[in-house]
C-alpha cells in the first residue's frame, strides 16, 4: 500500500513531476537518455530557484517497456504521488496506454517523440513532430532536384503503428505528387528483426536504375543489421539513399557509422545545429552525464527527442510561471501560443492545440555520427496532428472547439 503521509509537510517547498520513461526492457535503449534530459532540465531549473519558488522533485519510475505497467505507473503518479505533470513515453503504444489515465485523472503528459498524429488529446503536450513536421518535408526533399530527384520509394518499417501510419501518409503524399503506384513499395519487419538479406536483395533490384530511395521507419535494434546488410550487398547512399525517421544521434552512437555515411535523416533538431543556445545545451548535457557518472559520460550526444524532452520541462515551467499555478488546466491554458528559446531556436506552442511549431531539418550522416544539415525549413513549421492528406476533414483545436472537429 502507498498511503500518502508526509506529503503535506514538504509540499510547501517542492512540486512533484513524474518521469515515465522505460529504464529497462527493449525501449530502454532510447528512453534512458530522455530520463537524463529531463533530470538535467530539472536540476538546472532547481539551481535557478525552481518554479514559482518551489523546487521540482522528480518522481522517477520504470515502466520497463511493459505497456500495462505504463498505465499502472501513470495511475500511481497521478493518483498516489499527485504529480503536477508527467514527462514520458516514447512509443505510441505506451502513449496510448496512458492516455485514458491522464484524461480520466486530469493529468498532463509531455510527450517528446515524433509520432503519427491522428490524435488530439487535451491531456498531452506533444513536443515531438507531427507527420507534416518530419515525413512530408523529407519526401519532398528527396523528390526535388537538389535532393536527387528520386522517383521510386521503398517504404520500409518496423511493424507497429507509427511506421504504418507514417507510411499511409507518405504514400498518400507520393501518390498525390504523381508517383505511380508501382514505384512505391511498402514493407514491414517484426520488432527486433535481425536478418535483412532478403529485403536488401529486393531493394537492390528495385534500385537498379538509380532512381530509388528508402524511407525508413525501422525502429531500434533492427537498424544496425539493416544498415550493415545494405552496405554489404554493395549498396550505398549514392546508389540508394536511406531517409530515416527513427535514427538520431543517440542511435548512431551504437552503430558502426562507416556504413551509414551519406545516408539521411529528417528531424526537427540535430546536435550539429550551431546556435549558441544549442552549443551550450550540448556541452551542458555532456557535462551532466559525466558528472552523474552515467554510462557514456561526456561521449554522450544529444538528439531530437532529447532536445524536446528537455524543452518540455522548460515549457511546463514557463507555463506554470505564466499561470502562477501548477494547476493542470491553468498550465494548459498558459501553454497555448507560448514560445520558448529552445536549443533548436525559438519554438512556439500552437495557439489552438497542444503541439509545437518548430523547424524541420534534414541531415546527412557524417563519419563521426553527427549530421550535416543539408536542408532546413524556412522558419517554423506549424503542426498538423491530422494530416490533410489522410484526414482532410479533421482538425484539432482546443480553444474554439472541443479537440478534434470536422472542418467544413
Amino acid at each position: 500500500g502507498k498511503a500518502g503521509s508526509s506529503d503535506s509537510a514538504t509540499a510547501k517547498e517542492t512540486v512533484k513531476i513524474g518521469v515515465l520513461h522505460s529504464l529497462s526492457g527493449t525501449m530502454a535503449i532510447s528512453e534512458v537518455s530522455l530520463r537524463d534530459a529531463v533530470q538535467m532540465a530539472v536540476d538546472e531549473i532547481n539551481a535557478k530557484g525552481g518554479v514559482l519558488g518551489k523546487q521540482i522533485e522528480p518522481v522517477i519510475v520504470d515502466p520497463a517497456s511493459d505497456w500495462d505497467l505504463f498505465a499502472e505507473k501513470a495511475k500511481e503518479l497521478l493518483i498516489d504521488k499527485k504529480v503536477s505533470a508527467v514527462f514520458g513515453c516514447w512509443t505510441s503504444v505506451s502513449r496510448k496506454s496512458v492516455l485514458p489515465v491522464f484524461e480520466q485523472n486530469n493529468g498532463l503528459l509531455f510527450y517528446p517523440v515524433q509520432y503519427e498524429g491522428e490524435e488530439c488529446s487535451n491531456s498531452v503536450i506533444y513536443t515531438g513532430a507531427t507527420p507534416n513536421q518530419q515525413l512530408i518535408p523529407a519526401a519532398e526533399y528527396l523528390m526535388s532536384e537538389k535532393g536527387g530527384g528520386y522517383k521510386k520509394f521503398y517504404l520500409l518499417g518496423t511493424d507497429y503503428v507509427f511506421p504504418r501510419t507514417a507510411n499511409k501518409i507518405l504514400k498518400a503524399y507520393l501518390l498525390s505528387k504523381g508517383i505511380p503506384k508501382e514505384n512505391i513499395i511498402e514493407e514491414y519487419t517484426p520488432f527486433h528483426h535481425q536478418d535483412y538479406q532478403t529485403i536488401i536483395s529486393k531493394v537492390k533490384r528495385f534500385a537498379a536504375d538509380g532512381k530509388a530511395c528508402i524511407l525508413s521507419t525501422i525502429n531500434g535494434d533492427s537498424n544496425v543489421p539493416f544498415y550493415k546488410e545494405f552496405a554489404n550487398q554493395g549498396l550505398s547512399s549514392a546508389t540508394c539513399p536511406i531517409m530515416a525517421f527513427s535514427v538520431a544521434e543517440d542511435e548512431l552512437r551504437s552503430m558502426d557509422t562507416e556504413f551509414l555515411v551519406g545516408h539521411l535523416a529528417a528531424w526537427n533538431y540535430f546536435q550539429s545545429n550551431d546556435l549558441p543556445e544549442n552549443k551550450k545545451f550540448v556541452a551542458d548535457f555532456k557535462a551532466f552525464c559525466a558528472k552523474k557518472g552515467l554510462p557514456g559520460g561526456d561521449k554522450r550526444v544529444t538528439d531530437d527527442p532529447i532536445c524536446w524532452a528537455y524543452t518540455g520541462v522548460y515549457l511546463w515551467a514557463k507555463a506554470a510561471e505564466k499561470a502562477g499555478s501548477f494547476d493542470v488546466s491553468k498550465v494548459r491554458n498558459a501553454l497555448y501560443g507560448l514560445d520558448y528559446p529552445s536549443p533548436d531556436g525559438l519554438v512556439k506552442m500552437d495557439p489552438r492545440n497542444h503541439h509545437l511549431a518548430k523547424p524541420v531539418v534534414i541531415g546527412e550522416i557524417k563519419p563521426d555520427g553527427q549530421f550535416d544539415i543539408i536542408w532546413k525549413s524556412e522558419g517554423l513549421v506549424d503542426p498538423q496532428p491530422w494530416s490533410p492528406l489522410t484526414s482532410p476533414d479533421k482538425d484539432c483545436d482546443w480553444v474554439n472547439h472541443n479537440g478534434t472537429y470536422a472542418k467544413k
Binding site: 535503449i29 537538389k146 532478403t198 538509380g210 535494434d221 550493415k228 552512437r253 551504437s254 562507416e258
Partner: protein, 541 residues
C-alpha cells in the same frame, strides 16, 4: 574519334588557362561575387581536369593544406585520419617524404566554406562531375544518370572517364551508356542487334531496363524491338538464377548463425539437462567482450589497425563467457542438478541480473566496428556478391561444429560429459569427477555462446538485452533438432534458415516468421521428438 580529340585540342588549351585562373579566384576570392562567378564559369567550361575540384566543392570536402587545395578520401583510415588528394591541376594521392600515403586528421586541414548558393550552381553538372569521383558508387550512379544522353560532348567526357575507370561495376554501367547511345543511333538491324548483344554481354544492373525501354520505344523496327525484349528477358532469367544462389547463401548464412547460437545451448541443455535461460546473456557477454577489446585496442593501446582487435576478441569472448558460465555453474547450477525445473528459474534470475549489470556498465548503446577485412563482399560474378562477414560466420560455424563434434564424440572428456549428463550418480561410481565435468561442460557451452556473441557483432547490435532476441530461436533450433543431438541442431538450424529464406520470398517478413513457426509446429506433429529421435527403449520416459 582520335580526330575529334585532336581538333578539340587548341580549344582545350585555351580553356585550361582560364580554368587555372578561375581556380585561383575560387580559392582566394577578393569578394564573394567573384567566387560565385568563378564557380559558375568552371561549371560551364566542363573541363574534366577541374572536375575533382568541383566534386570536392559539391561534396563539401574542399580543404586547404599549405594553401593548396586538397580533398580527403571518402572513408577514414582507422582512427579519424584520412588520405589526401591534390585537386588541381592534377588529382593525385599525396605522399609523405618516405613515399607512404600522407594521413592526416581533419583538424590538421583548413576547411574552405563554399556557401550553399554557390554549390547549387554545380547541381546541373553533378552527374558529369561524379564520373570523376573517387567513390566508385558515385561513379556508378553518375553513369546511370547519363544513360539517355545523346550529346556528343558529354559522350566524349564519358569516354575519357571510362578510359581510366578502375571499378568493374562502374565500367559495366558506363559501357552500357555508350552502347545505348550507339544502339539508339544505329541504322541497320544487324548493327542494332550487335549493340543489343553487347549490352547483354556487358550485363550491368541497368541493362534489362535499358533494353526494355528500347523495345518499348521500338526505335528502329519491330525486329530489333523484339530482339531487345528477348534479350532483356534472358538477362532477367539469368539474374533470377543468380538470385537463387544468393537466396541459398542467405539461408546458409542465417542457418549458420542459428547453429552457432544453438550449439552452446545444445550442449548445456541437451547434454547437461539445464534449461539455461541465461544462454542469450552469455552471448551478450561475448559481444561486450568484443566491444571492450575494440575499445582497449584503439583507446588504450592506440593501435589503429582495426582488424587486430577482432582476432583477439574471438578467443577472449570464448574465454570470458566461458568463465562466467563456469562461475554460474559453481555458484548456482551445481546445487540444482537434481532439480532441472529450478534451474529454469535460477537462470532466468541470473539473466535479469546480467542484463541490468550490462546496462549499468555500458549504458544501452555500444558499437563494434566491423573489421576491414570482413567488410564488403566477394564478387563471385557481376550480380552475385557474398558478404565477407557472412562467409566468415559460415566458416566459423563450421569450425565450431567440428570442434564440438570432436570434443563430444572423439575425446575422453566428451565421453565423460555424455555419461555424467545421463546418469550422474553412476558416473560418479565409475570414477568420474562429476562436478569437474559439469563445470567444464558449462564452460564450453557458455564459451560457445560467447563466441556466437562475438560473431553476431559483425551483423547486429550490441545491447544489454540482445540475448533475448535470440533465445527463443535457439531453443527452437535445439528442440526441433531433438534434444541432445548435435546433428539435429545442425540440420534444424540449416533447415530453419533455408525455410525462412524461402518463405520470405513469398511472404512479408512478419508472415514469413509466422509461417516458419506454424511449419515447425506441424513438423513436430510428424516428429514429436525432433529430427533425430532416439529409437527403441532408450527413448522411453
Amino acid at each position: 574519334m582520335l580526330m575529334c580529340c585532336l581538333l578539340l585540342l587548341p580549344l582545350k588549351v585555351a580553356a585550361q588557362d582560364s580554368a587555372s585562373i578561375y581556380t585561383a579566384q575560387l580559392l582566394q576570392p577578393p569578394n564573394d561575387s567573384v567566387r560565385t562567378q568563378a564557380i559558375g564559369r568552371l561549371a560551364a567550361l566542363r573541363i574534366p581536369a577541374t572536375f575533382p575540384l568541383l566534386i570536392a566543392i559539391n561534396d563539401k570536402k574542399l580543404y586547404l593544406l599549405d594553401h593548396k587545395a586538397v580533398t580527403v578520401d571518402s572513408k577514414p583510415t582507422g582512427e579519424g585520419t584520412y588520405r589526401l588528394y591534390s585537386l588541381y591541376p592534377d588529382n593525385i594521392l599525396l605522399t609523405n617524404s618516405s613515399g607512404q600515403p600522407l594521413l592526416l586528421p581533419l583538424s590538421a586541414l583548413q576547411t574552405v566554406d563554399i556557401p550553399r548558393a554557390d554549390r547549387l550552381q554545380l547541381a546541373g553538372i553533378a552527374p558529369l562531375l561524379n564520373l570523376f569521383s573517387n567513390d566508385a558508387q558515385k561513379r556508378i550512379l553518375a553513369y546511370t544518370q547519363l544513360k539517355n544522353t545523346g550529346d556528343s560532348a558529354t559522350l566524349s567526357i564519358l569516354q575519357a572517364a571510362l578510359a581510366k575507370e578502375s571499378n568493374a561495376d562502374a565500367r559495366r554501367t558506363g559501357k552500357d551508356v555508350l552502347y545505348a547511345a550507339r544502339l539508339y543511333s544505329a541504322t541497320s538491324t544487324a548493327a542494332a542487334k550487335a549493340y543489343i548483344d553487347s549490352i547483354g554481354d556487358n550485363w550491368s544492373d541497368n541493362a534489362p531496363v535499358l533494353l526494355r525501354n528500347y523495345a518499348k520505344a521500338g526505335f528502329l523496327n519491330q525486329e530489333t524491338a523484339h530482339y531487345a525484349a528477348a534479350q532483356a528477358i534472358s538477362l532477367e532469367k539469368r539474374y533470377d538464377s543468380l538470385q537463387r544462389i544468393q537466396n541459398f547463401f542467405s539461408g546458409l548464412s542465417l542457418g549458420s548463425i542459428l547453429i552457432l547460437i544453438a550449439l552452446g545451448l545444445s550442449i548445456v541443455y541437451g547434454l547437461a539437462g539445464i534449461i539455461n535461460m541465461a544462454h542469450g546473456e552469455f552471448m551478450m557477454i561475448g559481444a561486450y567482450t568484443t566491444y571492450c577489446t575494440q575499445v582497449f585496442f584503439t583507446h588504450t593501446l592506440g593501435i589503429p589497425q582495426t582488424d587486430l582487435f577482432f582476432l583477439a576478441a574471438l578467443p577472449l569472448s570464448f574465454m570470458i563467457a566461458g568463465a562466467m558460465g563456469w562461475i554460474l555453474e559453481r555458484l548456482v547450477i551445481r546445487h540444482l542438478y537434481a532439480k532441472p525445473l529450478e534451474s529454469l528459474l535460477a537462470t532466468w534470475g541470473v539473466s535479469l541480473i546480467l542484463i541490468q549489470t550490462a546496462r549499468l556498465l555500458f549504458g544501452d548503446l555500444t558499437a563494434v566496428k566491423t573489421p576491414q577485412l570482413l567488410s564488403g563482399g566477394w564478387q563471385v560474378s557481376p550480380h552475385l556478391t557474398l558478404p565477407y562477414n557472412r562467409i566468415f560466420i559460415i566458416v566459423l560455424t563450421l569450425l565450431m561444429v567440428v570442434f564440438t563434434y570432436l570434443m563430444l564424440y572423439r575425446s575422453r572428456l566428451g565421453l565423460q560429459i555424455r555419461a555424467v549428463t545421463q546418469n550422474r550418480q553412476m558416473s560418479a561410481c565409475l570414477g568420474i569427477e562429476t562436478r569437474r565435468v559439469a563445470s567444464i561442460t558449462f564452460f564450453i557451452g557458455s564459451g560457445l555462446a560467447g563466441l556466437a556473441g562475438c560473431a553476431i557483432t559483425l551483423i547486429g547490435n550490441v545491447v544489454p538485452d540482445m540475448g533475448q532476441t535470440y533465445i527463443v530461436d535457439s531453443f527452437l533450433v535445439v528442440v526441433t533438432g531433438g534434444v541432445g543431438k548435435l546433428a539435429g541442431t545442425i540440420f534444424s538450424g540449416l533447415g530453419i534458415g533455408f525455410f525462412t529464406k524461402i518463405s520470405e520470398s513469398f511472404f512479408q517478413a512478419v508472415y514469413g516468421k509466422v509461417f516458419i513457426l506454424v511449419f515447425i509446429m506441424l513438423f513436430m506433429q510428424y516428429k514429436p521428438k525432433g529430427l533425430f529421435p532416439d529409437k527403441g527403449r532408450v527413448a522411453e520416459d
